[in-house]
Amino acid sequence: MRSQMEGSMAVAKAVAACRPQVICAYPISPQTHIVEGLSAIVKSGELTGCEYVNVESEFAAMSVAIGASAAGARSYTATASQGLLFMVEAVYNASGLGLPIVMTVANRAIGAPINIWNDHTDAMSQRDSGWIQLYAETNQEAADLHVQAFKIAEALSLPVMVCMDGFILTHAVEEVELPEQAQVDAFLPPFTPRQSIDPDDPVSIGAMVGPEAYTEVRYLAHDKQMQALELIPEVAAEFKAAFGRDSGGLVRAYRCEDAETVVIALGSVLGTIKDVVDERRERGEKIGVLGIVSFRPFPLAAVAEALSHATRFVCVEKAFSVGIGGIVDSHVRMALTAKGHPIENYTVIAGLGGRPILKSSLHTMLDRVAADDLERPHFLDLDRDLVEREIARSRSERRSGPSAENMLRDLGAVRATPV
């Protein structure tokens, strides 16, 4: 049934349709509406056979999910930003233990400075945690990805993070076709754990492994992700057969067939980029878009294939590796190097801390790309004067104070106090 709803509610309903048995929740913006929705669904009795645990921290949320999953229950939690970082030790532990927990990350910037708005710094910090990471472009895809996520997680005994842009998706009201309960039940069989903690079969789980086998254990973690490269498209195809919708998969190409320039991105910004590409296509530019759905495992072959006719690519990234630059960009270059097809490339850092990614800014940037005149990495809409002033101030004064506050004063965003 198609209906207008907030992205968070669509995700809450899709998750509930997956019949999770334990949901643990700790509130953090912009994830709150998801766990609020699930709270109501469980408390009202709409979802039975489910324990909803209000925990005292994100570290506890992931830990409760670990215990529940290890006991054989389908387990779900959601977080964002500082919350994801607060639970990091348990995030790695969940994947190390091979527990198929599904977690929504409502992507949000990381402090300091504290910032509640969207970017991908949170999820990108966990790209090496051993979790599968899927990025949703729309609220429809966010809802659908959760149904697929449980299937992928449980097939591989690996946790899956479904990333959706905070506020831009979580708080946006759009038309969504919710997965019907009967369809989900047919698509997603009950969870059978590979191993569980059970008095009927008393095993020890989570013991120490030394140098004699640790490398092999880590190799198997990598091998599972390689298996996911096969499984994710299969599950997406199965999903399409069952639900009739294209959602998920590894990558999604848009107008790439004859494209010389391909813009690569993750998440909701793909919609804006597609609009820009349509406009440039009308002007005769051979340009396309490649959306990456699965960032972990990273689909090297699928990316290289999509770029096989391109002469340059531009990664528009909502996070970056401080001290070197683009994260997605380095992955794409690895994909092309492996194929012996290194091409011109640009990294564009955009949308940090919720800064809007405007079509006009993208056009200006792509004009410079077309002229092969863009610095690397390029920070979209960076107020360079503002930055230069602060750099000069910090060079001239030892006690120049907090940069963030100084720059906001320069902007006039806060009232200047008399010196």
């Binding site: 048995q21 334990v22 643990c24 056979g49 489910c50 324990e51 645990v53 209000n54 925990v55 005292e56 921290s57 570290f59 506890a60 830990s63 409760v64 999910a65 670990i66 215990g67 529940a68 999953s69 290890a70 006991a71 054989g72 229950a73 387990s75 030790e89 348990a90 532990n93 233990l97 903690i197 059970d198 008095p199 079969d201 008393p202 095993v203 020890s204 789980i205 989570g206 013991a207 120490m208 492994v209 030394g210 086998a213």
Partner: protein, 391 residues
């Protein structure tokens, strides 16, 4: 051991229902048994009626922590965990799983592919055992398997420090978990560093016996049993490996209840305390008999019983038995510090009514005096670690 009590206080009422039950236990979990075999408080188990014999004497016990593990000789934690989990398995009729925090107990029991655990056992991290246990309990509840009981365990570091947030959360939600803390009063697994349970003046690797105030400072540290009581959970108890009969009984009582329950067990560490490996039980007894470690039970935030001191000893006897307090006696005797520690013991005695007859260390109650060659009551006769290794 008696079969688990059928009275389910939590089912009658509980703080989580907004009501403290009218009926709290009025008798201690273990009735004191006043006879001795070989000059110690160890009860001649074979002489007891069947129903009060220890679980550990049962040839059909679980052996939850069985032989072959790598604990140090004389490890109080291994001793306490073995008795506690065997008692819990007995009470749960085998329907029990254990969640373990990182620490000595986890490390010495389980490098893959070996394990000393004969119970279903799960280790995740250092600071999350209470939350993992909450998750296991929630899973069993959701799956309709609430016959399975969940026990979580960890050392003092995993409990009072790094796992404290998760523990408090588990208490506050009144999750159906029995958490057992084996307190050896420092981070022993990493090499004897101070924890939030390290007593004042104790020497550790991070509170060394140097400077004007050697050892751990006064005025820090947590009294976790009392913090647990403040959560008004159904059951909080302390126990010590010098009274394993009492420990077993408290585990049984805890397992007869539902909701969040907490048992804090004193487990001396020969390595960290600087005691002979043969002195673990004796030094634990000096801790309880001096009043430094009070033994009591509390239900819904109120103390319901305490185990009286049978023959009081001055704290000095306890301190002298351990190298971690050696700087209080040599090169200069620190009477000021010893007096402050004695004052702590005296306060415990008042707070928990540990000397109902008003006994004092100067005038010990001789009516209950054990045979004269009991080594537990003259610390001078305890071998020190140095003496033992020189043998």
């Amino acid at each position: 051991m008696t079969t688990p009590e059928t009275t389910d206080l939590a089912d009658q009422a509980g703080f989580h229902h907004g009501v403290v039950p009218d009926v709290l236990h009025t008798e201690p979990a273990a009735a004191p048994v006043k006879f001795y075999q070989v000059g110690s408080f160890a009860v001649g188990n074979r002489l007891l009626p069947l129903e009060v014999r220890s679980v550990q004497s049962d040839p059909n016990r679980t052996n939850a922590l069985t032989s072959g593990h790598r604990a140090c000789q004389g490890c109080g934690e291994a001793l306490g965990a073995r008795y506690a989990l065997d008692a819990a398995m007995h009470a749960a009729k085998g329907r029990m799983v254990a969640v373990n925090a990182t620490g000595c107990l986890e490390v010495f029991s389980t490098p893959y592919p070996e394990t000393s655990w004969r119970v279903a056992w799960l280790h995740s991290l250092f600071g999350n055992a209470p939350a993992v246990a909450s998750g296991v309990a929630a899973a069993y509840k959701a799956m309709g398997r609430d016959d399975i009981r969940v026990v979580a365990q960890g050392g003092d570091g995993g409990t009072v420090d790094i796992g404290f947030g998760c523990l408090s959360g588990m208490f506050e939600r009144n999750d159906d978990v029995l958490y057992i803390c084996y307190d050896n009063e420092a981070y022993m697994n990493t090499g004897i560093q101070r924890s939030g349970a390290t007593p004042p003046a104790a020497r550790t690797a991070t509170t060394q016996a140097v400077g004007d105030e050697p050892g751990n400072v006064f005025g820090q540290g947590k009294d976790l049993p009392r913090i647990a009581m403040a959560h008004e959970i159904p059951y909080v108890a302390t126990a010590s490996v010098d009274n394993l009969h009492d420990l077993e009984a408290k585990v049984h009582r805890a397992m007869s209840m539902k909701g969040a329950r907490y048992i804090h067990v004193l487990v001396p560490c020969p390595l960290g305390w600087g005691t002979a490996s043969s002195a673990t039980v004796s030094v634990a007894r000096l801790a309880t008999q001096s009043g430094l470690f009070p033994i009591f039970e509390a239900e819904y935030g109120e103390v319901v019983s305490s185990v009286p001191i049978r023959r009081r000893v001055p704290v000095e006897d306890y301190l002298k038995a351990q190298k971690r307090f050696a700087h209080l006696f040599s090169p200069t005797r620190r009477d000021d510090v010893i007096e402050r520690l004695q004052a702590q013991a005296d306060r415990n005695i008042r707070r928990y009514n540990l000397l109902p007859q008003g006994d004092s260390p100067e005038q010990p109650d001789l009516t209950d005096q054990p045979p004269r060659h009991d080594p537990a009551f003259t610390s001078q006769t305890l071998p020190t670690a140095a003496e033992e290794t020189s043998h």
